[in-house]
């Protein structure tokens, strides 16, 4: 296992109650890769992301995050410097003004006293303003976060990642609840940030179009196993059809399929 890898998984399995969420998944992800995690609902995408972000531990197999075994990250602080998360729009503290949600990216660096002072008199305001300007929300700095639209809230979450500056970003359906135009908008901002900061990105996506457009590697999961793991250019339409097929009758005809 090389240490330049962001993530290395070896024979990772995870079972919930009676359903096998992941079975013997192995993969390695290098720094700077932009990866889409695709596959039908229930294929294990979220489980895989939760294992990569050390939120859940696998039943079997080895997980290394930046060269260190996942179990050895004792504090959330240490992990937060390596890995940042982005999920759907419910991740922000709604009653707080936007600026505090952005500055929350700094909480891993700040001591208690500084975070207390900042609650009344925001610290590192220039950095927060800069991040908000990049996502086009500078004018909403002091607005109550829950008053923002879904797309705007995702942009605030992006600004928070700008301040956190992790080495890798794991995004679980970051654009799932947005209309196509806004989804495209968030996705391009996210990828632009990742490229500028030379970060690693692993994003689970429902939209194959977005995955193909923005990511240079596609990892497809089906029934808890890797269906294919290829550079985007090498993925064929046939493979994608196979990935999303619901079931096949005995003579091979497709009963129901969508792509």
């Amino acid at each position: 296992m090389s240490d330049k890898n962001s993530f290395t998984l070896k024979d990772v399995s995870k079972t919930f109650e009676e359903t096998q969420a992941l079975s013997s998944v192995s993969l390695s992800i290098e720094q700077g890769e932009i990866i889409a995690l695709i596959g039908p609902s229930g294929a294990g995408k979220t489980t895989l992301l939760n294992i990569l972000s050390n939120i859940i531990q696998p039943d079997e197999g080895k997980v290394r995050i930046y060269g260190k075994a996942a179990a050895q990250y004792s504090s959330g602080r240490e992990l937060a410097r390596k890995v940042g998360l982005m999920r759907q729009q419910f991740d922000l503290v709604g009653p707080l003004p936007v600026i505090h949600n952005v500055l929350a990216g700094k909480l891993g660096e700040w001591g208690l006293l500084k975070s207390m002072i900042s609650f009344l008199f925001p610290r590192d305001k220039d950095e927060a303003a800069d991040a908000l300007e990049r996502v086009g929300l500078l004018d909403k700095m002091y607005d109550k976060t829950s008053n923002l639209s879904g797309g705007e809230q995702q942009r605030v979450a992006l600004a928070r990642l700008f301040l956190q500056k992790p080495q890798a970003i794991l995004a679980d359906e970051p654009v799932a609840s947005l209309d196509p135009a806004r989804a495209e908008d968030i996705m391009s901002m996210l990828v632009q940030m990742v490229q500028q900061e030379k970060q690693t990105l692993v994003a689970s996506l429902h939209s194959i179009d977005l995955a193909r457009k923005y990511c240079n590697r596609l990892i497809a999961l089906k029934d808890g196993s890797i269906y294919f793991d290829l550079p985007t250019a090498e993925v064929t339409d046939q493979q994608l059809t196979g990935l999303y097929q619901l079931m096949e009758s005995k003579d091979g005809a497709t009963v129901a399929a969508f792509s």
């Binding site: 999920r87 503290v93 707080l96 929350a104």
Partner: protein, 260 residues
């Protein structure tokens, strides 16, 4: 289906118990006090024509002020106690399962003890201990109200949605930072509005408590009742009502500002 059956059986049983309890009442003419009717009319008359003489109004204002003072002082103490103990009882600052069980158990128990005893009983105890001093009234409100508020605060903190808290954790927040940036902002509006509601209750409690001799509206109501001066009783009651309404309006304004 089974659950539904069980519920119906319980409902039937409770109705039977109620009907059975009616048989234990002796339905005779002396169930009601025979002189009650004229007293009732007397009381009604007082409601229409409360005593509005300067003396009584002055007395009402002074007593209302005293009642309000006890309520405000008691409530302020209760709020501080409830905030600290409520956070501890919610277990959000604890680490690990054993620690959590121990700390949550202890502080939930403490809050339970504080509110299990009624403020009037606390008042009697404190009057016995420190005599008829304002401290008796203030502590008698602060302890049970601290228990009630603390319990509700703890529940509100436990009900904060998990997603934003997990996101803050992923940013590397410590437990104290989670409390400040996640839990409290989420719960603050509800906490405040519940505190205002309890403040309203504290005013009523403070009035009642003065029955033990601590002065205030309740004490005046008691004196007037003993003299059978129902017109005076109503004057004091209207002052009590006025205070409760003012607090209610104030709390509505506060809530509107917080939720917007």
């Amino acid at each position: 289906m089974q659950h539904f059956h069980k519920k119906n059986i319980l409902t039937g049983l409770l109705i039977l118990v109620f009907v059975w309890s009616l048989f234990s009442v002796q339905w005779r003419a002396d169930l009601f006090h025979s002189g009650g009717q004229s007293t009732f009319l007397h009381i009604l008359l007082g409601l229409i024509q409360p005593d509005l003489s300067t003396d009584i109004l002055q007395l009402a204002i002074v007593s209302s002020w005293r009642t309000l003072t006890y309520a405000v002082a008691g409530m302020s103490l209760a709020l501080i106690v409830a905030f600290v103990v409520g956070i501890l009882a919610s277990g959000i600052l604890t680490k690990g399962k054993t620690q959590r069980t121990a700390i949550v158990g202890f502080f939930r128990g403490l809050l339970g003890f504080m509110r299990a005893i009624h403020e009037l009983v606390w008042a009697w105890l404190f009057v016995a201990a420190v005599g008829l001093s304002p401290f008796a009234a203030v502590f008698a409100i602060a302890i049970p109200y601290g228990g009630i508020l603390g319990r509700i605060f703890a529940d509100m903190l436990n009900d904060v949605p998990a997603a934003p808290i997990n996101a803050l954790k992923a940013c590397g927040s410590s437990r104290w930072q989670l409390l400040m940036y996640g839990y409290i902002p989420h719960a603050a509006a509800d906490m405040l509005s519940y505190t205002m509601y309890r403040f309203e209750c504290a005013i009523r409690s403070s009035a009642i408590m003065s029955f033990v001799g601590l002065g205030g509206l309740g004490y005046q109501i008691q004196l007037s009742l003993e003299d059978l001066k129902y017109d005076e009783v109503w004057t004091f009651m209207f002052f009590l009502l006025g205070m409760v309404i003012v607090v209610d309006l104030w709390s509505q304004q506060l809530r509107k500002r917080l939720v917007a």
